[in-house]
Symmetry: C5
Subunit: 352 residues, 5 copies
């Protein structure tokens, strides 16, 4: 968490509905993209104000407003007026430390969730808000990104169910795309875990531990985001709001299954990382054992020998052994016997 | 826990409803502030008795009594009579070791929760009680503090919904302010955790461990307070009491979301601290390994050499090597070979 | 668990309802105290048989039979006949290893719970049974104790609600007194934990660990007793038995809140003890590090020096350095340089 | 698990209801005991076939068939035909790796649970099945044992409720006897835990750890069996099957309470064992500290002294100290000063 | 996870229902086996297209289509058309990283689960899908295997209930076979755990730890698959779909019990492995203690002796002891006394 970021505590003492952008600023200006489509046509244009955005020529068409960048508070206020959003919804859109949730406001559904991407090896999250009305949808993203390009491509080429299926199916398509993006993240993490595993079998270093801890924290980050996401999608699938029509429910249930799969994978990786931490710690402790063994073997072999050498280095007047011509060689013999005996002892103890 | 504080066990053997102040005494005298307001006016004055406090000129107006300091038991009894509070409610107000809860007494709602502030680096908690009647509200605080100043400011300048929205919205505003104050605490803790992280990557000392444990305990303290807080706000939002009117419910739900966010942050910090503890312990163990390695290398290199020096320091009459002119230099050669061999061995073992 | 105590397995093979006292015998003879009271009067006498005990002159009066000591099985059988208790209730009263519970037998409620007191530093528990009838109450205690004196005092002096409020309020008063006694225990434990904390910051010894473990076990003991207690009081407060009248329910809810507070404190202490265990273990490991450092510094400084001394103690015929007049002093110089170099190295490694 | 035992995987690929005995074979031949009783009479005889077993002279009498040994598959098939049991019930009876459960088959209730006894210090479990019909009961046991003797004795002497109370009360009596047998096991385990505790305070050895682990595993074994047992008895007590009549329900609830007590004791023992494991590990680590201290003290005292002795053992031509008559004694003085200084240092560090 | 496998992230950006095979490709071509049977006949043939597969001569007969290999996407599309399957069902069949689940699509039930087999010591999982229609069933398997041979054999020889009992009983038979196959896996794992236990009591090596971790991970893998499996079978047994007829429900409940048994065994093994990890770690730490003891004993005995030898090797002019004829032998005596004293000390400390 860089300290330059505007923190949540900045809002202390302000009334609810006070529109203050919490989080990092990513762009100079918000970019608004307006799409209108029905089964037969698809129009896309960039606009600069939301006034008049909600007058589709016919009622069947779907209006999709996508906004990149949240820092323009006045734009959001305008949006609130045009689409009739509750002030608390606007506040939630701006507070980018939301936990994934969906809220049924009667006239519209408000859905907020996190999207992750990797940036220079680190996981970066971004808040995505979706407001789903009867025949319009607003999606808001912190940074300009390519998140929604695949959905727009599918709209453009008009294949599949997307253009025929109403605005709730569009909401599903966006959610589905975001949940799918978790699989990309997880596959990358999976590869890093595999690399780590190889490093662990080879020669673990203190860096290995740091990597394990980093991966663990990223798992926590993902997990913290995906559990409420699953809950949220489940509540959409079970929702009795008329905004989610019967034929779309099965697709929301499908996204729900994907979210469960994401959670399963995360839990699996977490378990693997825990096991790797155990192996790491026990490797460290084995290595300590090994070091101690070497020290003990050397010390235990040489201390008695050095003692004996010391004894026959003494300057007593009367030391009978010193006078014998065979004394020196006999001592070498004794010392070799002692050393061999020690080594046999260590071999027995399985230290060698 | 200073031992000078009056403890909960002081009440043993007393009948329920016995009014005894449990906790530390913070002020000499309670301070009572009375506010009366409706959409068009706002009056605020300090009063000294509650008798006659509840006769607002018109029924539309909201009466808000705020009391700083709980030690004046007779004042509380008077309050109980004037506002018709149950003796158990008065007892709960005085017992400052309450867990956050809300109680529906039919005529009024009783809400109790904790507020935290930092005092010289340590977290200090204070109990806040709110009694919500049909058009009056009593708030009680252990110490005189600036907790409610922002709310009063919003009442004074009359902007926003606060003056128009009835006494339940006032209750919401107070709760919202307290929950927001948790974010301030958490941002401070977050910075301390970041500092700790840097210390850990640098050179962890036993003090690092103490800091981790202190932060962990503060997390526990907050957590113990916020979990029932969330539950309590949730029960207010779901409450069917007529004292909380329909338009306010969405605001209580908003505070509920904030409480969930607080819990998420706390759990996140706890996980981070656990990871840091693991890193600390493993750093200690790595350092031990490093120390052992140095010891073993030195001992393993010098013990054989010292032994050889000892051998040729012996005083045997017949030691052929000693006689040779090249003996001394040959031994130096042998010793250097042994040392180099040892160092190569350690290099292979990756100890060097 | 002293082995002299009659254990639960003594009942194996006996039919249900077989009256066998499980637990330690505490007194020679049971002591029966009979109290009769209504709003205007209070009579208390010691009796020796229960026959005829249940004929109150008027129906409004409350009859309270208190029995100290459970070993008189025939007395209990008589009690069962007089008050119409189910054999299983009698069996439960005698089996002092019950877990706190309440049972609604239609005509009466049976409540069993544990009371703790400290005896020579150790926690001792005692089982208390309460049988609540329409206008009578029986309370049974393993040992003669002062548990119920405060309640009796309140009855005697006739102040407060107790004498006016019927037999269910008497049951509440007894339960409240027992729950309050947990706070006394917890305050004592809290002080022992504070002392332990100071010991830990000072110089932890293996005794510190034993104290932590003892406190942890006492927490477990309390916890095991309080969790079902809370549940039991909660079920009384929600009970639809006519024996607990509407105005008393709020008082049972109050006791329930106290039980929750007891649990919170216990959980808090448990977390503190866990943190202290971590600190203890890490202190041990730090001390080991310190010991190893001293050893390594001494060995690393003196081993090379001793080697050099050994070299110049050798008896080779031709050792040029020995002949030089400055040889001895040069060697001292070399040795001092080596030692200083080592100390600088350790200073760099932050070992000094 | 001895490998000679027939394992569950032996049934792979067979249709459900295939009667294959899973488990160890304990007896050569099954032994069938038939009891018929009503309030006034009790008949008991050993029979060899079940044909015609179910024709009681009058409808009031209870028929109790007890079978020791499960290996006779044809006998079980016959039993299935005579009593109208579902093939899956027969399969469950033979599969002795069942988890405790009860099944309501409409005409009869099928109950399966585990009984434990100690055999040479190890816990041995045995599966007991009970089939409860309208006025008959079949009980099946893996090995011939004395499990049901107390029940039969109570039937024989005709005291108590057993003979008067119908076949559901008989089922209760059997269940009650089995749950009581857990208390015997637990009291034995409790004594072993006390012994272990004494060993731990004395001199813990690696065997202590093995004992802790063995006891932990036995706790797990019991726990795994008692949790579903509790659940199962609870479901019987709540059952709406006409086979369990109203007056018996309270007795089943009583057995339920006993099962809860068993679980409480097991959890308590588990916590104690965890605490003991902590103490054991910390004792090991303390002992390591003690060893290291001795080593460090010895090495730290003698290394400088040995170095000094080495210095004055050198053969330099010019070493002025050697020439002084007081040199030798001065050196002893210096060495004693060094040693005393070291010991004072260690005393300060509390190592001595 | 080999990196050559097509990963789940390959589907990112595609619309739901896009048929892409996720997982490893196992076979060149799918193999389709068609079975038709009723009580009186059984026909089995291999077919190459599904067109016309669903025209059974009479409505009573059951049609069972079994497909080995999922890589032929067009075949699956054809299957979807012929049997009227939802595109999401087809997508789920192809995505082999599904978690076990069942889905009621009204016209058919879709069931997906995992089957495990051992391949070269490692657990390999395979996804099996079952689609159950009114009188037809499709089963799909990733690899050609012998999974369904026992079911087909039972159909062929026409014994037992299988041919008489409708298509839901066939679904049960397949599920039952798969759950039974878990017991085979678990028995193998059980034997490996027993072997590990012996290795642990003998001489644990770092490989022991790796084996424990491998087994733990396999347990996790199984557990991750069996928990949702149990849930899924339970939901089938409770299902109100007309596709599962009343007489089959009891058989699904039986499979449910088997799944619970599998879970119990897995949890049991996990607990055993945790205990073994504790024993392993404590053995390592004991061995370290043992090594340290040897080192300390040797060093503590020989350091003082070497010091003494050094002292009498000094070259002071005046050292009175050196002159005495008994000096040398007296020193030996002193040294032996010191050594014996040390050994007695270590014996007291129980180090010897």
């Amino acid at each position: 968490m860089p300290r330059t970021k505007k923190r949540r505590s900045a809002k202390t003492g302000l009334p609810p509905g006070a529109l203050i952008h919490i989080g990092e600023r990513h762009a100079e200006k918000a970019k608004i993209t307006l799409c209108e489509y029905d089964e037969s046509r698809f129009e896309e244009r960039e606009i600069h104000t939301l006034e008049g955005a909600l007058q589709p020529p016919d009622k069947e068409a779907v209006t999709w407003v996508h906004i990149d960048g949240l820092q323009d508070v006045r734009l959001l206020e305008q949006m609130g007026n045009v689409f009739g959003l509750h002030p608390l919804t606007l506040e939630d859109i701006l507070n980018t430390e939301q936990r994934p949730k969906s809220e049924d406001h009667g006239d519209y559904l408000y859905v907020v969730l996190k999207r992750f991407h990797e940036n220079g090896g680190a996981l970066v999250s971004e808040q995505v808000s979706i407001v789903l009305g009867p025949n319009w949808l607003i999606s808001l993203q912190e940074k300009e990104g390519k998140l929604l390009d695949p959905v727009r491509d599918r709209l453009r080429n008009g294949k599949g169910r997307l253009r025929k299926s109403g605005v709730d199916y569009l909401a599903h398509a966006i959610l589905d795309g975001i949940v799918d993006s978790y699989f990309v993240i997880l596959d990358n993490l999976g590869e890093r875990i595999e690399d780590l595993e190889e490093a662990l079998v080879g020669r673990p270093s203190p860096e290995t531990l740091l990597t394990i801890q980093t991966l663990k924290r990223e798992m926590l980050l993902l997990r913290k985001s995906v559990w409420p996401l699953r809950e949220m999608i489940g509540s959409l699938a079970r929702s009795d709001s008329p905004l989610i029509r019967e034929p779309s429910v099965i697709y929301f249930r499908d996204v729900y299954d994907h979210a469960v799969q994401v959670i399963d994978t995360i839990e699996n990786y977490r378990d693997m990382l825990s096991g790797m931490l155990d192996i790491y710690l026990s490797t460290i402790s084995n290595r300590m054992n090994e070091i101690m063994k070497v020290l003990t073997i050397i010390a235990t072999v040489f201390m008695p020998l050095t003692f004996l050498a010391g004894v026959y280095g003494m300057n007593f007047k009367y030391m009978p052994e010193l006078e014998k011509p065979w004394g020196y060689f006999a001592l070498w013999g004794v010392m070799i016997v002692i050393a061999v005996f020690m080594l046999i002892y260590f071999r027995r103890k399985k230290w060698l």
